[in-house]
Subunit: 352 residues, 4 copies
Amino acid sequence: MSGSSSFGKLFTMSTFGESHGEAVGVIIDGVTPGVEITEQEIQLQMDRRKPGQSSVTTPRKESDTIRILSGVFEGKTTGAPLAVMLNNTDMRPSAYEKNKLLFRPGHADFTYVEKYVHRDHRGSGRASGRETAGRVAAGAVARKLLSLRGVSVTAYTKAVGGIQGETVDESFIEKNPVRAADPVAAVKMIEKIEHLASIGDSCGGIVECVIRGVKPGIGEPTFDKLDAELAKAMLSIGAVKGIEFGAGFDAAEMLGSEHNDQMDKDGFLSNNAGGIIGGISTGQDIVFRIAVKPTSSISKPQKTVDQSGDEHTIETIGRHDPCICPRVIPVVEAMVCMVLEDLFKRQAALHN
Amino acid sequence: MSGSSSFGKLFTMSTFGESHGEAVGVIIDGVTPGVEITEQEIQLQMDRRKPGQSSVTTPRKESDTIRILSGVFEGKTTGAPLAVMLNNTDMRPSAYEKNKLLFRPGHADFTYVEKYVHRDHRGSGRASGRETAGRVAAGAVARKLLSLRGVSVTAYTKAVGGIQGETVDESFIEKNPVRAADPVAAVKMIEKIEHLASIGDSCGGIVECVIRGVKPGIGEPTFDKLDAELAKAMLSIGAVKGIEFGAGFDAAEMLGSEHNDQMDKDGFLSNNAGGIIGGISTGQDIVFRIAVKPTSSISKPQKTVDQSGDEHTIETIGRHDPCICPRVIPVVEAMVCMVLEDLFKRQAALHN
Amino acid sequence: MSGSSSFGKLFTMSTFGESHGEAVGVIIDGVTPGVEITEQEIQLQMDRRKPGQSSVTTPRKESDTIRILSGVFEGKTTGAPLAVMLNNTDMRPSAYEKNKLLFRPGHADFTYVEKYVHRDHRGSGRASGRETAGRVAAGAVARKLLSLRGVSVTAYTKAVGGIQGETVDESFIEKNPVRAADPVAAVKMIEKIEHLASIGDSCGGIVECVIRGVKPGIGEPTFDKLDAELAKAMLSIGAVKGIEFGAGFDAAEMLGSEHNDQMDKDGFLSNNAGGIIGGISTGQDIVFRIAVKPTSSISKPQKTVDQSGDEHTIETIGRHDPCICPRVIPVVEAMVCMVLEDLFKRQAALHN
Amino acid sequence: MSGSSSFGKLFTMSTFGESHGEAVGVIIDGVTPGVEITEQEIQLQMDRRKPGQSSVTTPRKESDTIRILSGVFEGKTTGAPLAVMLNNTDMRPSAYEKNKLLFRPGHADFTYVEKYVHRDHRGSGRASGRETAGRVAAGAVARKLLSLRGVSVTAYTKAVGGIQGETVDESFIEKNPVRAADPVAAVKMIEKIEHLASIGDSCGGIVECVIRGVKPGIGEPTFDKLDAELAKAMLSIGAVKGIEFGAGFDAAEMLGSEHNDQMDKDGFLSNNAGGIIGGISTGQDIVFRIAVKPTSSISKPQKTVDQSGDEHTIETIGRHDPCICPRVIPVVEAMVCMVLEDLFKRQAALHN
């Protein structure tokens, strides 16, 4: 069992750390012993998430250099918990002093005060996207275990501010700062984001994720369905406001005779289900999309109130991403990896 | 901790039962002691879910009469687990004998064989929507506890097969067999469903849910966010393929300056967030929509294979709902109630 | 996750039911699919626990005939939850009316009122030993799964009211009503219990449990150690007041050079550890003993108070076991089986 | 949910770290927000556990200086997880190189190889008592929360190597290196331990724990009983081989008329139950004793085998405590505090 900063049943992570505190990190438990893992493998994923990568991300500078403090001996996992830590270095808590009693629109300031009364106001504190650094570190370990199962997880920016990606070239994803899979759309997306940044605004987008190599039979029935666990994982990411699998919301307008994935001796004839039926993997690609809201932090003036209820106009101060999609992608992949490795282990337990 | 047929952390349910087995039911644990509850209150919700209600639902006839076997003494809860059971009566397992080795398109037949090898083929067995009867019974208990907190949960059919409800009259919901909130659209929805039933097809739809009276501060940070828990709960319902909160997927096309819910001294000026920010309730109405896929069971011929991989044409036999929306609504509400009562108790624990 | 009436992490049970309610039962989840199981196998264990077996047990008459309501199809488990139920038949709730506001010494009456305020006073309600019927049913399923792993679990009465068993003949255990393993001591134990029953008193005892066939490596490190899980399981039985493994409390007086189990090429030279080192099975027999308190229900007059604090003399009314050891043995074995099957599955998950 | 290095349901800890790794630590989650806590309060408990305190403890030198990395802002808890870390400094992993393939008698070397195959052999790795440093840090936070509830937890050495403490002077406990409560017995205990250390042997003992100020009604019914949770917590400590509550194993020789705690208008007339009936606190002092085995690491020659099964004589190398009792006491208290705070929160959730 565990508090709300823990995730997973058998293969688990527990994260800690605030945006402008001393450090952030994660404990990963239930790791298969005897698996080779290096700090470099984890760092690779951290570097995809870290701030300051390009013109479309926040200028905050963090090297996000991780250290593995435990659970690895002579280059291999021992089955003991891996603690992975990274220090915060480019903190500017003073930037938040001026508006510390104001509720920034779109941020969890108001809800945290309501929930906790005593709140860390330095850059969203625990509610900051910086908490996801620990998730990415844990996800890198899960990704390694899944690679041994032949599973790959790939997410990319499908749409930004209304600009849709039409084609998919996965080799292009890491070559452009918005992590789009469509080279043509990517150019327009970057232009749009840069423009919005210049006028102090932000935009949302859609991220699509494709999971390959999951054998049929993964996912638990009833409440812990594969899609249910993935949905929880995605909505646990602060900026995500929706998720759909396969045909998704379009299914609402389809007939049963259109939506059902028929089969012949070579397998399924379509994949409207998105690779999951009855909460269990079909062996096809697992496909889902998430809605990412526009970054809440903008410098345009907005109406708000302070903790006493007095009205103010606020221009959010700080260093922020004008569109969250590019940097949410490694987080999405990390969460997917955590869910999958956990469910693979549950399937093993069922039959052993 | 628990198996995958249990749901909740402090206020929990564990369901059992197959579609054509002897009985289905649920154990509800963590119930506040001293609360008056009657079998009638639970039965009221069961009757909303039970089959055979109208021309747009399955003709299977089940009275779904529940009994409370434990946990209530002299009309009040004792804090001990409530076991609630209902016997299956109108089982026709023989109807499934003919096609028992065939994988019905859209159903979990293939995935269950892959997962379990040994499968109960009688009407989807455990994967049947009949499992949700136990959820509705548990949800009725949660609903009672929430009513004492001033919380109400209302879901209705927003769209069916492309027909959109435009207006919302909540008093109309229980007065029409599709449980639409728009009297004009309801007529067209019913016509569409009846037509599809007559030609052996089915359709999907969208269900919207509005939760009122949740005070600010409910929901846990990081992984057990209110929206994350609701998303898991909704995707744990077999026919649900997507969920969105507040502005949802439209947020992907909005600017930050449009999406942010600004505040003045009277509160929020909009509710694009759907009543949840940072995973925690804002005190506004909580609003979400789910995508419901078309019923998989249709009598139109479809291609499939059997367990040996041989190809067949199948016309699904059985008694089924041509559109799942009307009967999924009490299940949606039940799951929402389970999530909320659990999170209210977690908030109480945090501060006590 | 789950309420306090659930037990186990991967292989779980959730019990329900009160002593004088309508029924008691259990849902067992996480069961390996494809395993042959019959109601008779479960009934066999129920019959060992049921009341009215002999002169040394309560005269309450319950056939305790169980029914499997779900999770078994064509004689084999499907992986879905097994619900097992038994109706109460020989209820006499009226016997408890007279003293319903009095706190019976040794019983949970006082603590339940403090905890719940509203209490089911009929024969201890949920706190009754009758709740353990569900545990025994679940344990019978676990026992079946363990038998396929080559594991056996045997408990017997080691001491009763100061009379120690000196020899161990396991074939004798089920042939005598106190379930002693020493035929000579058994005679004296029976005499003692019958005498105490005749004068309205009761006595405690010690139960020893031997687990054979557990391969090395079972049990989790840190908090979920094999001995930690067994200790929790045993202390969750109402009458148990202590547990010791291997040399147990005698270890407190031993030297390291005496207590350490040395090894040679044929294995361990002693078993002071009781088959568990560092919380993990060594492959030797796992041995522990539990202290069972005297039955609280006696007919000798005792001082107590009622819910208003007024003083009374009480002579407990009802039908009770003068010594709990014989009937607690199937419960002990059931709980051990639940712990073991769960930990075997966790070990499988770790390496898969 | 969580791995086996996590403990608690609502108020939880997750520990990490090996004996001779880089650092050890803990994440504490579910902490009441707004509570003042300082590093000094935690350090105070760490200092009681740290090695090198006296002639009867290991000469390993660790300052065990902790840092709080998160979850505290402006001196108060925020409700976010507290990460507490301490670096290892006096590691001597090379001391373990020589015997790295040998199974040290009494240690978890053999069982860890069986469980994990790949093992960290440096001073027991994860199985080392050093892991408990994280527990003590978490327990210090729990202790602070409990102090606000008026609860105190006090453990002391009751017996060492057969020398029994007869009197209890709690003010003496922290004034003597064995943490005995009996000044006369303490002198003999110290002599005995120093003698055993001089001849390369070790001894076991008994620790008694008294918990005061727990109101009636704390503890969950059925499986999560207060005594069940405490038993699990105690047996999760490596050196503990048994536990008994109140009269404990003596209850096995008592009559019901002797063991039952009768009541009059002023409360209970005795406390044979040890303050827990039906798994729930009675409001009396909660009293239990644990059996602590002799330290496994001794320098006397012992027979063992290596990973290939070849026989050896081993004289354990390293720096060790000749008796674990004095240093296990802060660990015992920490675990008790964790259990209690968690169950207090569960009681709050039940009624709110």
